[in-house]
Symmetry: C2
Subunit: 334 residues, 2 copies
């Protein structure tokens, strides 16, 4: 199984353990979505192809391994870890399906999006089905505190998306607001993956809180890399429609930076390119003004900061794999 | 506060009790949705105007009162009843917001719909925010079994909507499939309102199961009445865009009946009217062929059947009010 880390290329026992655990997570997810209605199953099978990076379930499992007593094998992981991993992947899949409706995207993970194939109505409703199943699956482990915390996170995530929509085509958006949006819509769930994974393995709150901070910073870096790929990525490698942030009126970090340092006439030119949705010219401009490079540096710094939080964990292969995963977040080309 | 029953017009102590309890439910709902982001609060305030019939919270509370030890005053109701009542109303509001996107509706409860006002993107995301808040609020009472059962119900509800979309513009849809859709998308939640309300007041499973059956039948009748109002209602009284079922390619019960009894040439005429989305001609046709009347009779029978389940409850004012509410489900003009 592939992912943000290609586990089959890593010849360490921990990679095999993680790969096997991820397979079990996929089975839990599939079983959860299985319906007595074939119309529903067909749609879900389409969506299961969207699973690509598996960043969130990987983080739950690896954080659980790294914070646990036996960080070198899978014995420290429980059914609860695997269920939480499936739940966060379901939440993520739901946001992808609804994001594609919002962005009118046509391609995702190299397959045609559901909204493009079956219309927005079906995509909206299938996203709801995925959210509902995420909460239902989460309730099955009878840990009301986890239901409560994940409910809080999804509230935050949706509020972040609403804040982003509120600032659509807002050329005056500043970096503070940008980070506020990203912290909510992306980093909150990624942070919680790490915190929950650790918490389920280790009673020491210092460790799970540190893992929460690790995930939050990693999540911000992840979103910045997404922004960069939308501008500079290769559509064949990224596997989804690019330039979509621009089409949707989302001002991403490189653009916000560029506008912030521009003089009046430069600003007018950039605004005109945005209004025309001229992705090619804008890309050249953002590279030329240095904001692409500067944004890349900032993502790198966030990953470095995140990695210092791993000092709260015992040394071992799981911790090392978390380090590699953190690097992959910004070195990835998809 | 108005609702499917105008409680201020009923001069019984129980009506006052119910009205006060509904006010508390509204406060719980408002507090739950309150955000630190003003952009989110503005949207939620708009949505709170959609609350109209309050059928679902009323059923939770009245079932709780009627199944409890002191069915004549509010002392039998707990915080859990009120939270569950707010949760089901939130789930319902979320479905309204997403349904309006699906149906491209412009008016709801006499106010402009959010999708029309702010675009589909914001409406999709706000619906997600409402679903998320419903689950979060539900988790706050720390009753994992209720989380699990409501998760099951929302899975069923979404699957029902997907099944309906699957049969869009399917002129061969039969009554069995129609009832399968309605049972899932509408009756499942309404049935669960009654079952949960009773269960929270009374350990006797015979009673809560009977209330579940009461609500399920009532829910089917409620949907049939909605179908009828979409065809024969007065837009000024109903307070929302009409003819939307037709526009969305949803074949409702009167139409399915009419097609079922039509001969080949009649069928071709009706199909042509559907394809043209000619609501006026179709209305005349459905009345003329007797299917509107027949559908109305079926809804009446369902309500009568539902009311027999109330025999499992002790006599008292709450039970009487449930009877009135059941009648109101099909006598309503909005």
């Amino acid at each position: 199984m592939t992912g943000i880390l290609n586990l089959t290329n890593i010849s360490l026992p921990i990679a095999t353990v993680l790969d096997e655990q991820l397979e079990e997570v996929s089975l839990i997810l599939e079983r959860q979505l299985a319906s007595d209605l074939s119309a529903v199953n067909t749609l879900c099978q389409h969506i299961e192809q969207y699973q690509g990076k598996r960043l969130r379930p990987m983080l739950v499992l690896l954080s659980g391994l790294a914070a646990g007593q036996a960080p070198w094998d899978g014995s420290g992981l429980t059914h609860k870890h695997r269920v939480v991993a499936a739940v966060v992947e379901l939440i993520h899949l739901a946001t992808l399906v609804h994001d594609d409706v919002l962005d009118e995207a046509q391609i995702r993970r190299r397959v045609v999006t559901l909204n493009h194939l079956r219309g927005n109505e079906t995509a909206v409703m299938l996203g709801d089905y995925l959210i509902s199943n995420a909460f239902h699956l989460c309730s099955s482990i009878m840990e009301p505190a986890i239901n409560l915390t994940l409910g809080e996170i999804t509230n935050t995530l949706c509020a972040g998306e609403l804040l982003q929509l509120h600032h659509r085509d807002d050329y005056d958006i500043d970096e503070t607001t940008y980070f506020e949006i990203v912290r909510r819509k992306t980093a909150s769930l990624i942070g919680e993956c790490c915190r929950l994974g650790a918490m389920l393995s280790n009673d020491d709150v210092t460790v799970s809180e540190a893992m929460g901070r690790f995930g939050t910073q990693l999540g911000i870096a992840f979103q910045i890399q997404d922004d960069l790929l939308d501008i500079t990525g290769d559509e064949n490698i990224v596997g989804k429609s690019l330039g979509k942030d621009l089409d949707a009126g989302k001002l991403t970090l490189p653009l916000i930076r560029c506008l912030a340092v521009a003089d009046e006439s430069q600003r007018a030119e950039v605004v005109a390119l945005i209004a025309k949705r001229d992705a090619d010219q804008l890309r050249r401009r953002l590279i030329a003004c240095g904001s692409v490079e500067k944004t890349r540096e900032q993502a790198t710094q966030l990953v470095e900061d995140a990695k210092t939080e791993l000092g709260f964990l015992d040394q071992g292969p799981a911790r090392e794999l978390l380090r590699s995963l953190a690097d992959a977040v910004i070195s990835r080309q998809f």
